[in-house]
């Protein structure tokens, strides 16, 4: 008995001594902008049992022995670790400020698999443009942003100064643009209205190059660009921003967000305008180019998204949007473009391994002519799409994911290009399934199949996909085969248009769908703060749809081209250091082989590259960001038919290459107040002749921007840094 009492007393003494000898270490973990990071881990190297997780305010608390030096490390997904050492003399709080890891390998992506996946684990190569990249680029138009960030992408003008995309040999109608996974209605000369893609309030942009029709169906032949909107993270937030640049370019916008209880809302408004650009100004050229004036225009973009978390496992989302663009194509005529967008979506997770999504989306895109002499605004184009979608994910054994889903779309098109401004309606339906098999940590196999049906085209199509990924130390190897396809559109089937009172363009209801076989191999090497990725791809494209002259009809008719091939290599290397310095170099080579005699010949630039050198540093009351970015496009020599009515005689045409650099300086002056100064076309490049694929620059220009996060001005500052 005595022994037991003695043992108990000794135990109490030991415990008391241990408690008395402990000290408390506490503080906060925040991001670069002093925003608290909830769920961050704080570990002690020398005392592995001491671990703390930050609460909703980013606060943590640890107990450590009273004496000795201890190394504390704070970690958070998507951010660089931060380490601090404390010794016996330490007093006060210990704050960790983590910098976002721009390698973004811990970034969650959804586009390649339609299910959330870490970027480093995605079996399909996905390029992510982060929110910070978007802000750095300071771009109003998505074209400026994509061209700055990615090689192999060129936005140029087609007829009537309509914007046209070429992404590694694929045009605008072969690259699927999505906003939060939803398609955009409407097109002009085979391209969606890129001005609708407001770059304000974007969380990230995911780009998957190569065919992806096994998940997305028609149009996903050359790739998918998915713009993901930002959800409100703060209880409340208000941002106001403005930018002024050359040619009286103005951009004003604002966002209001709240995140209260089960409700989360973001409202965003943006207004832009720019005057006409006289390309002949300051030159003595009588013929300055294919065009001498870039039309001025203005846009208004309003969008609202409301999320209601009805239960912990049920989320409902409603959204609505309005877009208006007016182009001053002449004193007598203004081209007007409008869209009305809305949708509802429900996400339900009945178990930890299952989630279901059901959504309805509405998108209407109208074009009208505002005739100044008569003050009349007459609509002559309207594309209305109703889309019902369902998506189901089930996770087996915590690692294998089955994805299945289906869509129904009603596609209505009224157009001035149809006889008597008529209209046509098409119904489309599809079903798809994909299995993401992860038998080993290092190995992943993904296989999918999709069936699409189109009523007017009387078309049924199967699109397969098979992807493999193998991880070897710091290297990830990926290989894939994917089928791509594009169904003939209502325009391509039923056009009956007297082009400029010069010749007719006829649709063709008997068109075959475009289809492609896409093979891709890539290697990604990651070590420390460096990343190198090389991807090779090869596409066989059958039945590409274009217009060709028909002698019998004396006009152009939509037709299928014979087989063509597109191959290339994308390579990029990047690094980011704790000093705040970062860099990225990217290069793309594209080889497009189209046989002579086909109605459309290749004009894709073979070599393109982008470069970025940036320095970002945040101090307590000041932040600095300096970015030098450039893009280089090689010249391209191509064959051009000498007659529009015959595909025999050609002549050589060379479009010159060019390099454009941009320098921007962004300063966080005080809490939420940011000022950005930028100089575009730093070395004053000016084309000798403005081709449709020349940059519409008149030389070096400057801009100034101001952004105010009003909520941050009222935010209580936390922690005391030592």
């Amino acid at each position: 008995m005595m022994k037991r009492v003695l043992f108990f007393l000794l135990f109490c003494l030991f415990i008391a001594n241990d408690i008395l000898a402990q000290r408390k270490v506490s503080g906060v973990v925040t991001d670069d902008h002093d925003e608290p990071l909830a769920g961050a881990l704080v570990k002690v190297k020398e005392h592995r049992t001491s671990v703390a997780v930050t609460d909703a305010d980013g606060h943590y608390e640890l107990r450590l022995p009273a004496d000795g030096r201890y190394t504390l490390t704070a970690t958070y997904i998507g951010y660089f670790d931060a380490t601090k050492v404390v010794d016996g003399s330490h007093k006060g709080t210990l704050k960790f400020r983590l910098r976002e890891n721009m390698m973004t390998l811990n970034q969650v992506v959804v586009t390649g698999t339609r299910t959330p996946k870490l970027l480093k684990d995605a079996p399909i190569v996905t390029r992510v443009i982060s929110e910070q990249d978007v802000k750095r680029a300071d771009a109003t138009h998505i074209g400026d942003l994509l061209q700055t960030e990615l090689p192999g992408i060129e936005f140029s003008y087609s007829m009537n100064q309509q914007t046209s995309l070429n992404m590694s040999g694929f045009g605008g109608n072969s690259v699927l643009f999505l906003v939060d996974g939803e398609r955009l209605a409407g097109e002009t000369l085979d391209n969606v209205d890129y001005s609708r893609l407001n770059m304000d309030n974007v969380q990230r942009i995911e780009i998957v190059k190569g065919a992806a029709s096994s998940l997305y169906g028609s149009n996903a032949v050359g790739g998918v660009v998915n713009i993901i909107s930002r959800e409100s993270q703060e209880p409340w937030s208000v941002n106001l921003n403005g930018r002024y640049g050359a040619h009286n370019e103005q951009r004003y916008g604002g966002s209001v967000g709240f995140n209260l209880g089960r409700f989360n809302s973001v409202t965003n408004v943006q207004r832009t305008s720019i005057d006409a650009i006289d390309l002949s100004k300051g030159t003595s050229n009588a013929e300055v180019g294919d065009y001498s004036t870039i039309y001025g225009h203005s846009t208004l973009n309003v969008k609202e998204r409301l999320i209601f978390s009805a239960m912990d496992n049920l989320k409902l989302t409603a959204r609505a949007g309005y877009f208006f663009r007016e182009r001053n194509s002449s004193e007598t005529l203004k081209d007007r473009y409008r869209s009305f967008t809305g949708g509802v979506k429900g996400n339900y997770s009945p178990t930890a391994n299952d989630d279901v999504e059901l959504s309805y989306a509405f998108d209407q895109y109208d074009k009208s002519d505002y005739l100044v002499p008569t003050d009349r605004d007459v609509r002559d184009y309207s594309n209305v799409q109703h889309n019902v979608r369902t998506l189901y994910n089930h996770t087996f054994a915590g690692k294998h994911v089955l994805t299945a889903g289906g869509d129904y779309m009603r596609d209505y098109l009224m157009s001035y290009q149809f006889e008597d401004n008529g209209s046509y309606t098409q119904h489309t339906a599809d079903a798809f399934a994909q299995f993401d098999w992860n038998p080993y940590k290092k190995f992943n196999l993904i296989a999918g199949l999709r069936f699409d049906w189109f009523s007017e085209a009387k078309l049924s199509h199967l699109s397969p996909k098979l992807g493999l990924m193998y991880k070897l130390k710091n290297c990830s190897l990926r290989g894939s085969y994917a089928g791509g396809f594009r169904a003939p559109t209502l325009k391509e089937m039923y056009m009956n248009f007297y082009m400029g009172n010069i010749f007719m363009i006829y649709g063709n209801p008997d068109l075959n769908p475009e289809s492609s076989h896409n093979f891709s191999l890539s290697a990604e090497y990651m070590k420390g703060q460096h990343n190198v990725t090389v991807t090779g791809f090869y596409n066989i494209v059958d039945d590409r749809i274009t217009t060709a002259w028909n002698q019998a009809l004396g006009g152009q008719v939509y037709t299928n081209m014979s087989r063509l091939q597109v191959a290339g290599v994308d390579a990029s290397a990047s690094g980011r250091y704790s000093s705040g310095l970062s860099w990225r170099l990217s290069y793309a080579y594209t080889y497009e082989h189209i046989k002579k005699g086909e109605p459309m010949l290749s004009s894709t630039r073979p070599h393109t590259a982008t470069a970025r050198l940036a320095y970002d540093k945040d101090w307590k009351n000041y932040g600095l960001g300096v970015t030098l970015s450039g893009r280089w496009l090689s010249k391209v020599t191509t064959d051009v038919y000498t007659e529009i009515t015959s595909y025999e005689q050609t002549e050589r045409q060379t479009y010159p290459g060019y390099t454009i650099w941009k320098l921007s300086l962004s300063q966080r002056i005080w809490r939420g107040l940011n000022v950005t100064l930028a100089v575009d076309n730093l070395f004053n490049y000016r084309p000798d002749y403005y081709y449709s694929n020349s940059p519409s620059t008149t030389g070096t220009t400057g801009s100034v921007g101001l952004s105010v996060d009003i909520d941050r001005m009222f935010k209580k500052r936390t922690g005391k840094q030592i």
Partner: protein, 209 residues
């Protein structure tokens, strides 16, 4: 909010907010020729479908009549001026360009110097009649009379593609071969669908000397 949205959207299979646009002119209801006349002010409006490159449209201001004839056909017996697309010619008359935005602000006819009046000229490279091979750089012209002054009512800048069209906004005083005067203004050159070649011409006839 969701209920309202679903009801709104499902009830509009072919789109919403059609009412924000002006209704297009219903097919077959457009009046061609002398569309309106005001006998008190001697003014009116002429609307002509001049989209066809192979036609002249002859306007008789006295009898308020428009006669259409092929480019190579004989002109009607009575006419005062004619248009082909945006090209114009007179029936032995002359045109003076007046810097007036409406008929009411025109100066007195007698104050206009004689040298301001421009007569027609014979052309071989103005009246385009066959554009079918334009994309191959071949345009066929008709040889015909052409009034360079009245044809200035619409400036077409073809140095850029697509061409830029600019209405002069001016008034054109037509001195007829019988010595009478008419005032002409090109109000529009497009229809509701922005198809070019639909000419809306405001006129005053006769103009008091």
């Amino acid at each position: 909010m969701w209920g309202v949205m679903i009801t709104l959207l499902l009830s509009a299979c072919n789109g919403i907010l059609e009412d924000i646009y002006d209704a297009p002119q219903p097919k077959g209801t457009q009046i061609y020729g002398f569309a309106s006349m005001d006998d008190k002010t001697h003014t009116g409006r002429i609307y002509i479908d001049a989209t066809d490159y192979t036609e002249w449209h002859y306007i008789d201001l006295h009898d308020k009549r428009v006669t259409t004839a092929a480019v190579d056909a004989t002109s009607p017996e009575n006419w005062d001026f004619a248009i082909h697309r945006y090209d114009a010619k007179t029936n032995g008359g002359a045109i003076a360009e007046i810097d007036a935005k409406d008929f009411g602000s025109m100066p007195a006819v007698g104050s206009i110097p004689e040298e301001s009046f421009v007569t027609d000229e014979w052309t071989t490279n103005k009246i385009m009649v066959d554009m079918s091979q334009m994309m191959d750089g071949i345009i066929r012209y008709a040889e015909d009379w052409y009034n360079p002054c009245l044809s200035r009512w619409l400036h077409v800048d073809t140095s850029t593609m697509p061409p830029v069209y600019t209405l002069s906004g001016k008034t054109y005083l037509l001195r007829l071969s019988d010595g009478a005067y008419a005032a002409l203004r090109l109000a529009n050159f497009m229809n509701d669908a922005a198809v070019k070649g639909f000419m809306t011409i405001d006129y005053q006839y006769p103009v008091q000397p």
